[in-house]
Symmetry: C2
Subunit: 449 residues, 2 copies
Amino acid sequence: MRQNTIDLTLEEIRAALEAENIHGAIQALHRLRPADRADAFSDLDDNSQQVLLTELDIETTADLLEELEDLTAADMADTLTTERLADVLDEMEPDEAADVLGDLTPERAAEALAEMEDAQEVIPLLEHEDETAGGLMTTSFIALSPENTANEAVQILRRIRPDTEIPYYLYVVDSNYRLTGIVGLRELVIASPANTVMEIMDPEVIYATTTMDQEVAANIMARYDLAALPVLNEEGRLQGVITHDDLYDVLEEEATEDIYRLANVADGDLTIHSPISLSVRRRLPWLFLNTLTALFAAWVISHYETLIAQIAILAVFQSVVAGMGGNAGTQSLAMVVRAIALGDISTRNALRTIVKEGGTGIIQGICVGIAVGLGVYLWKGNIFLGLVLCLALIGNMFVAVVVGTMVPLLLKAVKLDPALASSVLVTAVTDSVGFFLFLSLAAVFQGYL
Amino acid sequence: MRQNTIDLTLEEIRAALEAENIHGAIQALHRLRPADRADAFSDLDDNSQQVLLTELDIETTADLLEELEDLTAADMADTLTTERLADVLDEMEPDEAADVLGDLTPERAAEALAEMEDAQEVIPLLEHEDETAGGLMTTSFIALSPENTANEAVQILRRIRPDTEIPYYLYVVDSNYRLTGIVGLRELVIASPANTVMEIMDPEVIYATTTMDQEVAANIMARYDLAALPVLNEEGRLQGVITHDDLYDVLEEEATEDIYRLANVADGDLTIHSPISLSVRRRLPWLFLNTLTALFAAWVISHYETLIAQIAILAVFQSVVAGMGGNAGTQSLAMVVRAIALGDISTRNALRTIVKEGGTGIIQGICVGIAVGLGVYLWKGNIFLGLVLCLALIGNMFVAVVVGTMVPLLLKAVKLDPALASSVLVTAVTDSVGFFLFLSLAAVFQGYL
């Protein structure tokens, strides 16, 4: 339904632009909600985008830059005059403005900042790295003193009339701007007007620190069901707030990253809509890495070339052993990577997990091994071929689940992304070990095959 | 740090239980936040859990059931007396209580409902399927009439003193309970007390319907940055509200499901902490499916057994072609599955995506094909072997990306989960086509290898 609305509006915009009715095109665009507007805008050709961009008002342009993909937003921003860009950035949420500035050239960003009125809200955000809590937070929040009354707090809200990212929580800070408590808007509404903030605040605040990984901050919010999370610096001073909409983005972003990395697509920003050239540049290096491990597995097989020349049927079944190891290892890998992402695993239970997965692997290996062994015996009539297959499958599937479990845990232990390159490593091991186990066992039973 | 606190508290609880100091154990447990408390509780042995469960007060037991995994919560609930269970369910959020009731036997659920005081809040929730917007929503929300003033609304809030899932939004309904608008708590606070709700409400409400898939509802909330989403029935009557904490759960649940399914773990509820027997029961059927496709690929190879007996080196490199197809196909598969999950692809751009991925596949195939062909030529000194590998790689990697793109789109078109079984299908094709292409090309160049 949404896609329909966007498509119809797009047709209208294209027709209006065709007829050089820019005003009509802008009106049509305005009828969409900001998120949908960005989608429609992205679907227009470069020329139409340029025409619209010069005619849109500051506020709509700001909305648009907030909703567009990061790199598209930076490209758009780059085409604006410095003065106009500064006005647009002033209108944007500070955290979104900081993201755009971070994607511009340093010179261009400096020029824009010099022209901005609210530069002081954005500058502190620029120093934080992109994937940290500091890089995610916004500086637009409302801070109260513990001595304020509920009534004063309401007056402050009425005066500020916040129309920015929704302040469900107000933050209580001491004279050093250290966070001492938090007041929900709900508590404020139901309190007697004369109550002080100190009386109604919750002094036990859950918080993040500026340098904390955004995924960790996101897990805290999700775990404790928070709609907003204050971010403190090392001295405990309130620096900003992460809001629920940032969390949605992080949860989606981190899930995309894990799914991609398990499939050897290293760049989470890549989408199916990315141009072919970018897609190839990002995906091909990983395929080359895969190629190296595939050639390594081929090198393992090459040691048994003479054996295979004598017993060609080994070539028929060797891939079953290697492949089933890969499948079993991938299951473990996915489950451990996910458990790490959800903060569901710790050093304390890592060993227990390895033991448990190992047990699962052996049981699965025995089941699959017997099934394949029996099937191949019935098909080819050679009990020893079935036996070799069965033993190799048990061995390889056990190795597979152990490696599939340990690789992400080890990557995590050395502070790397547990999903990154892990499936390449797991496949490299299951292929090589699979071929080696099957062919070396076959060499032992050579006389009977 | 959190894990540390939980571990220390666990030690304390265990020591207290050891000394039969149940009161001390409960005190220690109480010091944790509800989410952490559930973690600590889950780590205790069955016996300790039972001892604690009989002594915990109703409110703490309710918190515990809300935070525990669904199936564990149902197991716990099952051990309570019907009277106690009814009290606990009354204390729980209606949507959480409905989830627990749904996991009990129908008889037990009916008994508990009969004893409950707030059964009427929970019963409407029981009729909705688990993974729909109706199954996700809660019935605890606040509805206003358009004629209410801001001041009256605040008085209503003060009277109800909602301490349940946080009502950032109040819902405005007409006399037929049809949703006509929405008022943010913020708007209410900054409005003049005499303003009517009609004057300050936003009449353009984004909503879900009870039968909508929870993933679709979640995407709407994430897309429009909503902290809550009203759910209407077919007549447009307000039935409930999905809150931001439900959304966090859905986003995590759906991401887990996709990651698992791409790795052939069909059950999203399975975790690395699940018992081995459950793990094997859920994972083994998929490995058997993999076994069948692996044996099919072996059958394809078996047609070339005589050829391999003559030219054993083919057995060394056949898996490179099959494996690289699998790797390329997996990349496309992951990207398309993710695009579908984020609502980032439609029938309109499906064809464009297939064409684009096909182009990417050919380019990648040419690059990998030339690299492998050249490498194998240098290694084995046979230019024809290199050529056969190169051609087979190009062909198989092209097929792989097209199949990797089309399989999830087709599954989606027939209303199945795009991630379910898709990687089995893609691997089945890339293996079989890979072996066939390489070996049949080798047969053509037989005299030169």
